[in-house]
Symmetry: C2
Subunit: 195 residues, 2 copies
Amino acid sequence: MTAGRVAERREAKVASIVDAAWKLAAEHGIAGISLYALARAVGMRQPSLYEYFDSKHALYDAMFADGNRQLFERIEAVSFPRDPRAAVKKYMRTFLDFALEDPARCELLFERHVPGFTPSPESYALAEEILGRAGTLLHEAGVTSQGDIDCVVAMVGGLMAAQLSNDPGGNRWSRHLNRLVDLYLDDVITRSNGR
Amino acid sequence: MTAGRVAERREAKVASIVDAAWKLAAEHGIAGISLYALARAVGMRQPSLYEYFDSKHALYDAMFADGNRQLFERIEAVSFPRDPRAAVKKYMRTFLDFALEDPARCELLFERHVPGFTPSPESYALAEEILGRAGTLLHEAGVTSQGDIDCVVAMVGGLMAAQLSNDPGGNRWSRHLNRLVDLYLDDVITRSNGR
DNA sequence: GTCTATACATCGATAGAC
DNA sequence: GTCTATCGATGTATAGAC
C-alpha cells in the first residue's frame, strides 16, 4: 500500500533534518541551532520545519532520542568479554569514545546545556536502559552498592568533562580510564573481603 | 581628595551590579541574564549599564574574576593541616562545597556554559593561581606526575558535576570525596614504593 | 551619569495562499 | 507539504537630550 511509502519518506525526511541539526550543533553548539539555518541546510524554508516538529523543543527531544539510539547501537555492536571486570572496562571505554567523538552531542545527552529542555519520558527511557546496563555489568563485577556505582559513574564522567574542556581531541584524561576503573574495582573487592 | 571618593563609589556600584547579576544567574542560569533585567534589579535603565561595562562579555569577565576571588578568599580563610594528605582533602572539600553552593557560579567558573565567552588573561590568572595551589598541595602529598594530578582533578570535577546534575542540594556524590582522594593517594604511594 | 528613544539583529512561531 | 509574509518577543548596543 502507498500509505507505508508515505510514512517512510516522512521518516527519512525527519532523519535527514536531525542529521543536519547535529552538524549545525557541532558548529555552533547545541544551543546555537537556529531553525532558519537548519531549514536552509535541508533545502527548506524555516516555517516548513513545523511540518515535522511541533516546536524546537520537539526537535531537541528527537535529537536526544537519536543520540541515545546511536550509543545504544554502538554498544550492541560490541562483543563484551566474559570476564566481568574486562566487560565493565570495555563498556566504559565504548561510552567514553562515543562521548568524545562529538562534544555537541555530549552537551545534549550528558550535560545540561539546553536551558529549558527536559527529555520526554519515551526519549529518556533509552538513556536509562543504557545506564541500567552499566549498572548490571558493574554488579556482575562485584560493585553492588549504589554509592560505588555512583563513584564509578562520577569518575568516568569526570574524565569525559575534563577531556572535552581542556584537551578536546586528545587523550590526556581519557587514557587513565582503565587504570581508574581497576583501582576502584580493586578497592571494592578489598573492602568486601576485609570485613 | 575627592577623586578617590568618586572611584570608590563607582567600584561599589560595579560590585552591586555584579552581585545582582549573580542573583539573576541563580534564577535563570548564567546565560539567561538579560541586561534589561539586570539594570532594573539595580534601579537603573538598561543603557546605563554601559557606563560600567563596555559589553555583556565584559560583565561576564567581571563575574568570572569575582567568582574566582570569592573562592580565593574562601581558601585563604581556611587553615590547612600540616599533614599533606589532610591538607589536600580539606582543599578539595573547600572547593567542592564552594562549587555546590551556587550552580550558576559553577556554570561560569568551571563549566563552559556561556557560548562565546573566554575570560581575559587577567581574570584567568586568579583561576590559575587557585589550580596551582592545588597542584602544590598534591605535590607535597606525593602526587608529582601531571597524569596523577589530572586524575584527581577529574575525580573531584566528576563528583561536582554528578552532584549538581542529579542531586542538587544533596550529598549523594560529594560524600565520597575524602574516600576517593584517599584511594587515589594510596595508589600513588603504592606505585612509587613498588618499583 | 542617567535617561528616553531607537536602531538593528535574531529567533520561534503562526496565518494563509498555493 | 511548502511557500511568503509577518507577528511578537527578546536582546544588545548606540545616539543624543538633560
